[in-house]
């Protein structure tokens, strides 16, 4: 009986270590800065999440050609 109790305690403690390790990984994931996207893209390159194509293929704004972003609502 004593052996079983001791073994169970050891198992719980090891599970606690594993859980703490996972918690560390999760916290690190949240805190890590977003990975820097490549700074240079070729003109005409399109992005799936971008409803206005870049590289003069969209609405001809300066911001579709590497210029500053205007104030449109992206519609």
């Amino acid at each position: 009986m004593s052996l079983k109790l001791t073994t169970s305690a050891a198992s719980l403690a090891l599970l606690a270590v594993l859980a703490a390790g996972c918690g560390t990984a999760a916290a690190t994931h949240h805190a890590a800065p977003n990975p820097a996207a490549p700074a240079h893209h070729h003109a005409g390159q399109m992005h799936a999440a971008n409803p206005i194509p870049q590289g003069n293929a969209g609405d001809q704004d300066a911001d579709n050609n590497g210029g500053p972003s205007d104030g449109d609502g992206n519609i």
Partner: protein, 212 residues
């Protein structure tokens, strides 16, 4: 199967359990501590940039500045000498100063509210829009709400972003301004490397923005 049941085996297992428990407590403590530091580091920035936004006061444009009225008549963008009107969206107005090589040095834009922009979450909206539209990355510098404008009230965000095309680094002040009849967005931007020198003039242009 037979298990050891002697005193030595119990001592060994007890030692393992104790070591594991101590390790778990230590890892958890370090994790909490590190999380606290990271949370402090990633707290919404403000500082002097936030103070700059909060100190915006509606002020008429200086003599000699020119004006561009939105096609729908709901706002007037003032721009200083040295900038010139720039073609863009039909419902918007822009003015810019370009280098001899065509690079943007100063940029002003006014656009009617078009989508889900709201004063309460303007900063989040703007950063999301930048990242989903023409910026490879964008980060918040400061944000403020309840800023008085000529004819209305606005929410402003100061941020930095890198364009997808060309990898150009810009810093901007972008404000959603609610007037009596309509809302619009005013943007004032410059290369991030030259923001310190550009900021006073751009702030002046934002302060002169008139909404109806």
């Amino acid at each position: 199967m037979t298990f050891p049941t002697g005193r030595r085996a119990r001592l060994i297992l007890t030692a393992i359990a104790a070591t594991a428990a101590i390790a778990a407590i230590t890892v958890t403590a370090v994790t909490v501590s590190a999380g606290t530091v990271r949370a402090a580091a990633s707290a919404p920035p403000g500082g002097s940039a936030g103070q700059t936004l909060r100190q915006l006061r509606p002020t008429a444009a200086p003599a000699g500045w020119r004006h561009l009225t939105l096609p729908n008549g709901t706002a007037v963008l003032s721009y200083p000498p040295g900038l010139r009107p720039l073609a863009g969206d039909r419902d918007a107005v822009s003015a810019a100063r370009l280098s001899p090589g065509g690079a943007f040095q100063l940029y002003l834009n006014a656009t009617p509210q078009q989508g889900g922009e709201r004063l309460a979450h303007w900063a989040v909206f703007r950063l999301h829009l930048l990242r989903s539209d023409d910026a490879a990355s964008a980060r918040l510098v400061a944000a403020a709400q309840g800023i008085k404008f000529r004819g209305g009230t606005g929410s402003c965000v100061m941020d930095r972003y890198v364009t997808r095309i060309g990898g150009h680094h810009f810093q901007e002040i972008a404000c959603l301004v609610q007037g009596h009849t309509a809302a619009s967005v005013v943007v004032a931007a410059a290369p991030a490397a030259h923001w310190a020198t550009a900021q006073p003039l751009l702030l002046r242009a934002v302060a002169a923005y008139l909404v109806r």
